[in-house]
Symmetry: C2
Subunit: 426 residues, 2 copies
């Protein structure tokens, strides 16, 4: 007889170890008292400040590698750390420590006629897998939010930021150790091998949810491949609708802010809808504001009549997330046409109506099928911090589990605790 040769994929073994360690750490973290978790967050913030020189050295290696590969300048900016950014990362962890602990809260409680007392109590999800790209700060932001909510996490950063993310992870683990919590509660996949992501997405026993952070192609790949539930944000095709009963001053301010405050955020407006009844009165000024601010305006035929500088919009424009200083403008016939356009072409992210008519506003707030709907406010408020939820890990455009900003509370589940006195079921 010849000996059987076992070929074990070393990467598979490594990922499997990571998963088992995360699962064990999650059990400890789920029971960790609030003070202990906060202690770990504050110690991690201190470690990040103490080790800023080490982090900057690691970042310099990432930058050098990226330059050698000819990485685009926009990606380089996302990758680059400096003392101010490191201070921001440390401060972010302290902010998360200051948030209320969602775990252990009784969400609802009631008694049954047979004397059973039923309580729905908030618990962590377990192990969260985060797949992200070149921003090394996600390592601390996501790790901190998972820790606060009693979850272990497995972080898979971009290969661009591997050295920086490793240095930041080491600080996070120092924080855990200082608080007597298991370091395996925060683990970075210790390889830049792309196959590791594929393995991660099949680890249904050891990872409870996957959260991708990054560009659309990353998120699409994760959503297509994952065997684990995914909380994701795909597109931010956000709209402002100027109703016939809009206050012109509010309309101009809101449109300009929604589009131009920051064009690269998911809550930036991409399409402006205007009721035909007010178009002539408001559109020339709105278009002027936008063009003056450096925005390219693409409009339908009705819009183009108001300003020769407006370029023609094509059908594709209504479905495009520019993330840039470009806006598409369409004149619509009434509220229902606006709602229909938004539900058809939008991405169910964030949409705003400008009107002084309360009934119109309420109809918009109820019928537009988006995570965030606003009345007389800029779409750029689509942000967990602006909502008062503290830090967020992203904005979910899905309807299952979490919708809108995903903060510490959205990284939880619940269980039913039932207290009896010997009840049996008839």
């Amino acid at each position: 007889m010849t000996a059987v040769k076992h070929t074990v994929d070393p990467l598979l073994g490594e990922m499997s170890r990571l998963g088992a360690d995360a699962r064990a750490a999650a059990a400890v973290l789920a029971q960790a008292p609030t003070e202990r978790k906060n202690q770990a967050l504050l110690a991690a913030a201190a470690a990040i400040r103490d080790q800023s020189a080490t982090i900057l050295e690691a970042n310099a290696r990432d930058i050098a590698n990226a330059e050698a590969r000819g990485t685009a300048a926009s990606l380089m900016d996302r990758l680059k750390l400096n003392l101010a950014r490191i201070e921001g990362i440390a401060k972010g962890l302290e902010d998360v420590a200051a948030l209320p602990d969602p775990i252990g809260a009784t969400i609802a409680e009631w008694d049954r006629p047979n004397g059973l007392r039923i309580a729905r109590v908030r618990v962590p999800l377990g192990v969260i897998g985060i797949v992200y790209e070149s921003r090394p700060n996600v390592t601390a932001d996501a790790g901190g939010l998972c820790l606060k909510s009693g979850n272990a996490c497995i972080l898979r950063g971009g290969s661009d930021s591997f050295e920086s993310s490793s240095a930041i992870t080491a600080c996070m683990r120092d924080g855990l150790a200082a608080a007597g919590l298991p370091e395996a509660a925060i683990q970075l996949v210790p390889t830049t091998d792309r196959a590791a992501v594929g393995i991660m997405l099949t680890m249904t026993d050891d990872i409870d949810v996957i959260i991708p952070r990054g560009g659309k192609s990353l998120i699409q790949r994760v959503a297509a491949e994952s065997r684990i539930p995914v909380i994701k944000h795909l597109d931010g095709i956000c709209h402002v609708h100027i109703d016939a009963a809009a206050d012109p001053r509010k309309a101009r301010d809101i449109v300009l802010n929604a589009k131009m405050r920051r064009t690269s955020v998911c809550g930036a407006a991409e399409t402006l809808l205007v009721d035909r009844a007010i178009a002539e009165a408001i559109l020339p000024a709105v278009i002027g504001d936008l063009i003056e601010a450096g925005c390219e305006v693409r409009g339908d035929e009705a819009t183009r009549r108001f300003d020769a500088r407006v370029k023609p919009a094509t059908a594709a424009d209504w479905d495009t997330e520019y993330l840039d200083a470009i806006i598409s403008v369409r004149v619509v016939d009434g509220l229902d046409a606006a709602i229909d356009h938004i539900n058809r072409h939008g991405s169910h992210h964030t949409d705003s109506v400008v009107t002084e008519d309360a009934a119109t506003a309420e109809a918009f707030l109820n019928k537009v099928d988006s995570a965030i709907v606003l009345w007389n406010a800029s779409t750029q408020f689509a942000d967990g911090g602006e909502f008062g939820m503290g830090a967020e890990i992203g904005i979910s455009t899905g309807k299952l589990h979490a919708r809108g900003p995903v903060g510490a509370e959205q990284l939880t589940s619940y269980k039913y605790q039932v207290r009896g006195t010997g009840q049996t079921r008839p």
Copy 2:
């Protein structure tokens, strides 16, 4: 030039039409007032009573087909309808009508320093796909719960029950029509072609969540194939743990009820754990109760010493959901060993501790990682009705979105409605 020949899969076209119709109906249902939805439920119940002869004829055809195929007797019982069961289906719809409407409720509301008022409001999920097996009553139960929660549904029943499910669906649609709601809110896949399930599981644009109802192999297939998020219940490996400080009377009553009240339900206990300190005092009586009630007892070595009728348990027993009059029994050393066994071998469904020690009970309720944890009560209470939630569509053992009984409220999402006075983001 030759003409291009388009080959369109007719089933794909049919399913695509179903999806588009469901999506359109969902938009109407999401805005339907409570009274209208209840009117549809009551009219559907009336139609089911009125058309009971038609339903029974359809059921007779299903039974004849099943007999011709040589279907097992246990499946035949699930399939068979009679007047009492039809009355139960109609009554179930009336019970759902009497439940509170979860839609439109403000879950939370707060003001921001900038004057924005933020409300988190409950909304339907959209379109729910239900894949089930031979019980035709699921057609009405699931359809009714989806309607109550403002969701459209696409039902895919087992081919065994196709005729019965079609007849019940017709009654549900009569109810919708009577209330002026779109009939496409409840659609049955109009074919027994197995390929239809495969197509359904890829309809990510038109179906928001899939809920499989049936045996483990169905649920595993759906979970493995689905590109749509799945709310599922896989196993019910439930435990009772008799702590050292248990009241013997409560322990005997609870174990007997948890195992033997109904052995085929997911909340039936499959494994009994007993603290070594109380084993000698309690196990002989508990084993006697079970064997007298017709239960096969399989035990570890320590257990077998108390009764010669106990068969040896193998390692596989700790991971087995018998759904039958069989129980595995293990003597453990203390609470932590019991919790460890449950978290390792259980299915995170429902587990109970019997103890008079409050601290022990609280530790069990906190550390056992299951959807439902009970203190001094039978695991057979794992049921939406027993929880006071009204009808349920199943019990979720997953942690994302819904955990435990899935009732009307669990078939909802939420949106943020933000009311401002012209705010822009600095």
